[in-house]
C-alpha cells in the first residue's frame, strides 16, 4: 500500500507550474509554499522549489527544472515533525519519515550516493526547508490536517462494517432488536435462498457458541454476575 516517494516529471500551466491533482477523486490543493528546499535521505538539499500540499499528497516541484519534482502520498508518511534543533539538522525544517514497500532490506542509510542510481522508492526520510523558518508551524499544521484526511483504507472499512459479533450480541439482536444490522435476515425481500437467511443466522449463532474462543468470555460474564450477587 505504501508506495513511498516518486518522481514527478509533468506539471500543469505556465511558469513553474503546478502538479496534476486528481480532483475527481478528491485531491484538492490546500497550500502552495514557494521558496522551499527539499532533502531526500542523506543527500544534499535541492533548491529552490515550491511545495504543494494537497488533501492526498505532498508535492515538491523544482523552480529551475520543469522535469524535476517529487511526490509522496500522505498514506505513506509515517510521521512528520518540526525540527528546529541545529544538532538534529542545521536548518529548521519539517522532517518526515516515509514508509516504503521494501522495508526489510538494509535500505535505510545504505543508498548509493550516486545520483544516477537514486532509487526514490527506498527513500525513508525527507526534509522540507522553508526559506522563512516562521512558516514551520503553519506547514506542520497543514501537514497534520491533511494526514488526518488519509486513514488506511482497510481501517476505514473495519470502522464501517462491524463484522465481528459476540455470541451474546447475535442472540439478542435476533430476538429483540429489529433495527439491528440483522433485520435484513427477517425481510423476505432480501433473503438469499428459498428458505430465507434465518436458518443461516441460527447456525452461525450455534457455530459461535460452540467456538472455544468464546468459552472464556462466557465464564467471565458469569463470574461477573456471581461477584455482584
Amino acid at each position: 500500500m505504501a508506495t513511498g516517494l516518486r518522481s514527478v516529471t509533468e506539471r500543469t500551466g505556465g511558469g513553474t507550474g503546478q502538479p496534476f491533482l486528481d480532483a475527481d477523486h478528491g485531491d484538492v490543493l490546500m497550500l502552495v509554499q514557494p521558496g522551499v528546499s527539499i532533502v531526500l535521505g542523506n543527500r544534499q538539499p535541492e533548491s529552490p522549489g515550491t511545495l504543494f500540499i494537497s488533501t492526498k499528497q505532498v508535492v515538491w516541484l523544482s523552480d529551475t527544472d520543469r522535469a524535476k519534482g517529487y511526490a509522496v502520498d500522505f498514506i505513506s508518511v509515517s510521521l512528520h515533525a518540526v525540527s528546529r534543533d541545529p544538532e538534529a539538522y542545521p536548518s529548521p525544517c519539517i522532517y518526515a519519515q516515509i514508509e516504503t514497500e521494501a522495508e526489510e532490506d538494509e535500505s535505510e542509510e545504505s543508498d548509493s550516493e550516486s545520483d544516477s542510481t537514486l532509487n526514490l522508492s527506498k527513500i525513508t526520510e525527507m526534509r522540507l526547508i522553508p526559506s522563512d523558518p516562521d512558516q514551520l508551524d503553519m506547514l506542520f499544521a497543514t501537514f497534520c490536517e491533511c494526514a488526518e484526511l488519509n486513514p488506511d483504507p482497510t481501517e476505514e472499512g473495519e470502522e464501517e462494517h462491524n463484522w465481528i459479533f459476540s455470541a451474546d450480541q447475535l442472540e439478542n439482536d435476533g430476538e429483540e432488536d429489529e433495527d439491528s444490522d440483522w433485520a435484513f435476515a427477517q425481510n423476505p425481500g432480501h433473503s438469499i435462498g428459498a428458505n430465507g437467511t434465518h436458518d443461516l443466522v441460527h447456525s452461525v449463532v450455534q457455530l459461535q457458541i460452540n467456538d472455544q474462543r468464546f468459552e472464556d468470555a462466557d465464564e467471565m460474564v458469569q463470574d461477573d454476575k456471581n461477584g455482584h450477587n
Binding site: 509515517s78 510521521l79 515533525a81 486513514p151
Partner: protein, 93 residues
C-alpha cells in the same frame, strides 16, 4: 473506539510511542484522533544513538497505522475502568 476514548483521557501525560519500524518516541500526548493518529509535544527519541538526527523535534505527528505500542504512564492507567470498558466493548455495548 475504546482506545480512542482511552487515549483521549491521557492527553497531557508522558507516553512512549513505539513504531513498527522500531523507532520509539517519548513525549507529551497532545492529541489523538479516531484513527489513533498521535500528536506528541516536547518529543525525544528513546534510542538516540540509532536516530541522532531526531534528537529533539518539538512536535510530532505519528500516523496511527504505523504505531506498534503506546507505553502508558503507570499512574495514568485506571485498571478497573479499563476492565469495565473492555468487557463492555467485548459485549458490543
Amino acid at each position: 473506539m475504546l482506545f480512542f476514548s482511552y487515549f483521549k483521557d491521557l492527553v497531557g501525560r508522558e507516553v512512549t510511542v513505539e513504531l513498527k519500524n522500531d523507532l520509539a518516541i517519548r513525549g507529551t500526548l497532545h492529541s489523538v484522533d479516531q484513527y489513533l493518529n498521535i500528536k506528541l509535544e516536547n518529543t525525544r527519541v528513546v534510542d538516540q544513538d540509532k536516530y541522532p538526527h531526531m534528537l529533539s523535534v518539538r512536535n510530532c505527528f505519528i500516523r496511527g497505522s504505523v504505531v506498534r505500542y503506546v507505553q502508558l504512564p503507570p499512574e495514568g492507567v485506571d485498571v478497573e475502568l479499563l476492565h469495565d470498558a473492555t468487557r463492555r466493548e467485548a459485549r458490543g455495548g
